[in-house]
């Protein structure tokens, strides 16, 4: 208790005067208040409060990644706060169930008076997307326009300036790309991994040839194997990797991807453990955001049916398309494309293991 502190009262501290005075249903302006407009307002306000909290965490995480060096204690904080965001996201995803207690008929009672307001106008939501790294060019076409068509000048300017900053994605890519362990003394993860991949694919080919019962099946399986070989080849070949990036099949830089693979494959090494937690949490944040988009697309279909909106697209279809495309950390999520079973990987050399371990060994 600080000296000379004024006693604090619950409702003053939480500014309940402002908070509980911010629900002003519009339906009462045109007749009887629609009972369910209160729910509609409060559900959206709760989302905005959670958005504010998520942004509070994201900005603090971004500040750490924005340092020239992310020290070990900072990494602990980042991991801790990412887990908090995931917990909030779970709650936000379940919250869709609350708005679904409103029937479409109940919504129809006040829907028209809200025109043209739309969830697309949530500046905080767009801010989260931009900080994470959802750049204009990566958005689906409809979403790209929505910046211009739907926001007022002030909000648009705010977001457009934000788009000029490096994103969390960019900073995480930098952090991974500068990781010192890919090449450590005479150990090269690139070489070691390439060899392990080669050996594993050759072993697969051997088994396919030995087990094949007819030629048709053999050719089909060899074809599948070749696709796998090509896939891995692109990982190690700079030019082909850049092709993958251009085709939007990967977004991480090649070096960052290799580091992420190294960390993931050897995550039980002490120095990799928190980094792996961070990578995994970013992937899960992306997944939960995508599930939120999906559930929202379903909710919109329930509320509005299949009517074509004025934008030439139903909200349901639009939202459903964003679930797949508007993803930022998908490379982490789909990294198993390039993973090998642990048993096929070599042990790390003793000097590397020591470097990745703790200073004190009992």
């Amino acid at each position: 208790m600080p000296k000379n502190q004024t006693p604090v009262y619950y409702s003053d501290y939480l500014r309940l005067d402002k908070l509980l005075g911010a629900q002003q249903p519009h339906s009462s302006r045109y007749g009887d208040e629609a009972h369910d407009e209160m729910l509609f307002i409060i559900v959206h306000q709760v989302y905005e409060l959670w958005f504010k909290q998520v942004l509070h965490e994201l900005r603090s995480i971004y500040r750490e990644f924005n340092q020239p060096k992310l020290d070990d204690k900072a990494l602990y904080l980042v991991a801790h706060r990412l887990r908090r965001i995931l917990t909030i996201q779970d709650l936000m995803n379940d919250q869709v169930g609350v708005i679904e207690t409103m029937t479409p008929q109940e919504f129809l009672e006040f829907r028209d008076i809200l025109v043209p307001a739309s969830g697309f106008q949530s500046v905080q939501f767009k801010e989260m997307e931009i900080i994470l790294g959802l750049t204009r060019g990566k958005r689906i076409a409809f979403d790209q326009q929505s910046f211009f068509n739907r926001l007022n000048a002030e909000d648009r300017a705010y977001l457009e300036e934000l788009e000029q900053q490096p994103s969390l994605f960019d900073r995480v890519d930098d952090w991974l790309a500068r990781m010192p362990f890919l090449q450590f003394e005479d150990f090269s993860f690139w070489e070691v991994y390439q060899q392990a991949v080669q050996k594993s694919l050759d072993q697969d080919e051997k088994i396919i040839r030995e087990n094949a019962t007819d030629d048709e099946q053999l050719q089909a399986e060899l074809q599948g194997l070749q696709a796998n070989r090509d896939n891995f080849a692109a990982l190690f070949d700079n030019e082909r990797y850049i092709e993958l990036q251009k085709d939007d099949r990967v977004r991480l830089s090649q070096r960052a991807m290799l580091s992420a693979l190294f960390i993931t494959q050897y995550r039980e090494e002490p120095a990799f453990n928190l980094a792996w937690q961070v990578i995994t949490s970013l992937a899960e944040m992306d997944e939960k955001l995508t599930i939120w988009r999906y559930k929202h697309s379903m909710m919109v279909q329930r509320m509005l049916g299949t009517k074509i909106g004025t934008g030439g697209s139903s909200g349901h279809d639009y939202l459903r398309r964003t679930t797949e495309q508007n993803r930022v950390f998908k490379d982490f999520f789909a990294m198993s494309t390039y993973l090998l079973p642990k048993s096929t990987l070599p042990d790390l050399p003793a000097s590397v293991r020591q470097a990745l371990g703790f200073y004190f060994r009992d």
Copy 2:
């Protein structure tokens, strides 16, 4: 779309200026802002928004029960809105997980500066309790004092006036007590049920006597059966029922309890279906509120440990004791005390079934 409607903008409609301007961490007044105070504020604000929504629904439900007659369409609305409250309660219960992402150490960074603010000062929470029917005398002792010690004069006066009104519990009891079907033409549910109970208990005694292998076991089982007989006897005997009420073992009036039993046992009759949904939802609201209290008591133990508070009671112990005692609709929840298996109940007479059915029969 009403004529001459002004276009609505998302952030104006939701009053985001007020809403997102209502987070003012106190820690920054005494030094660096504690990062986690924002979470603390927002979690409590979200609860207050949900409380407002639950009160919005509870008041509309109360208005219906406050009518001299609750018509069928109103009963549909009541059932619908109770289900909404249950959905919100599930979310509120899960929300405890969000505050638990704050470690006790993180809380210690700003805990002292909040003294003596407390969740006990939430007027909306107490308002919910009072509307439901948690009267002063039914509260645990510590809770009774908290009205006087912790609230400011204005808040206290508001709640004390509210305590003078009949509660939802009272109105639901009235509604059940005046139900016309307990005695319908020459059918008496009281008699029919008493006979079914008698027959069922006699049958149990017969089996006990036939299956007993030794005298000790026989006496023990007969003793258990006698406790059951006494229990049921009190249900049908007005004086003994009043004793149960005085001992806080039941709260419903005898007539309301009988109606609730009738509805529950024959809930598949059309005219009973919605009433049964309402009774069940009230019981579940009570259950979910109790689970919320329990989870809160755990959270408080985690944050504060077992330190004895200034009131002479740890918050954890206090909250844990409210889980059992501060329950309003426990009679509905524990009604199986008096239920019989469906197979031991007589079919209703045709005239009663007709009265409980729809007008149109295909």
Copy 3:
């Protein structure tokens, strides 16, 4: 307690010998047991147990709809059991989180030894789909083949026979189509609804013309309104409705669709209440199944990445496409396409209201 009953022991009753003896990891056949194969087995076994329970409920519901007449008490049971299915579905959807505690690397340790086993081979899951009404022709192409390519002869034969039976969808359509109230005495819901639609669209047009500020906007809005007019016109015109069915835009018969609309718009009438609960629950079952498919598609992407499978399609893409197409009760879910605000609908004539009410009126 029945006479002469043998005492029951927990582990015998639950057949724990069978149940807990049914986990036989294959990895131990080829070396050390992969620790996480146990999780993989148990998660799938739990799903199969829930599938059995859902089928137990679905079959009982189907039996009721298969009667020439669904009486009121049966409708109560149907509504009750559908709600149980929804509760189980919520749990199944959350269960995806348990399998996600297995990292892709942990899965790689035993993944190859399971080839070619696949969740597509779950007979119970396909049985649920078939009972609900997911016919072969409605499935996405890849799914149509999977019957032939992946199941053994016995399982295939079982499911193909099941496909010959009318589905729950068919029976629900029959039940709605034969509902007596669409035309009741001199009241015709078709006419009443058509007039209300007409009036509502005309009113919209008037406001559009009055509010228009420039000609371009006017034309755009009138075009949107015309799309809405066409949409409704198809609802009332038998030939155009059949076109909608052929284009897979609706699946319900025209009469069933009208009944569903009638019930939904007047669900507070006593005789419609349970029917409305049933329709809504079927829509929600569909929604939850779709969310399960979506979460599964995400989980598969996480476990396997973007590798192309032998079938020429990644599991992730396949599953994602089923979320939209493999839906049975989508018409109920998207019914708001055809709903009007309650305030634009006429009150029902007294004779219709009486017919839809209870026999006994206080």
Copy 4:
């Protein structure tokens, strides 16, 4: 894919013959099958499958702690598998909602034929409790007897033998007690922490004396402070600590408690991070188990009401009492009793920080 592997079929792999053949409702032996007995069986079987999985993880965790030394990679595995258990517990807690879709009347249809089977007879559940460290003496009285009265000879013998082994609690206590850092070179955490506590309490006293407005309040606050002083004194005094243990107010050994405090207060040091995750997860496992017990006690009250059982205690009351007493890792959960704000703690000396850091420093 191993060479010469037999193709695997889904239903063979999962032993669906055994699994789906293990549901044998007893009600059909005495008349028509009670529809809901299937749900009752399957819900319990699913719990038993999850118990098996939790035991699979717990035993693997126990094996690691049973080693003379828990190495860093093992600690990663322990933390990872504890998180999996927490995820499964969340699902098990939500699963109570599935059994609650069965009304008490539906349960009454087959309840009597299950006598005297009881969930108390679940050997796997008791096994979990014993492995965790719930010893006979710590259980509530009723629970102590239930080993003898309710289990068959074989099950009882199995569990009694298990009770002779050191528990996970014992092994975790050993691991903490032997931690090398409490005294490291010339740094002594005992001394440092004692001083910080002293300083913090003196500071509190100073503020209390300066802010006091009347003598009564002053004396009350000083009394509260003295309780705090006594509490901390016991932590550092071996004899008084042993008194706390005898009174069941703490269970950890004094040295283990100090280590746990050290780890918790400096958890951002790399070498403490995983240890802190493990401690926290054990506390959360305890919390979630307690919530499970609580929800079960509510479910039993709903199903059976307040009838007194043959054991002289209602199941509801019994289960409710276990929620508070049958807790194993409560010391970790309530550790904030002894925590100080981070800002009042001294920085660690450089040599200690180095020892707790990684070998490689960029």
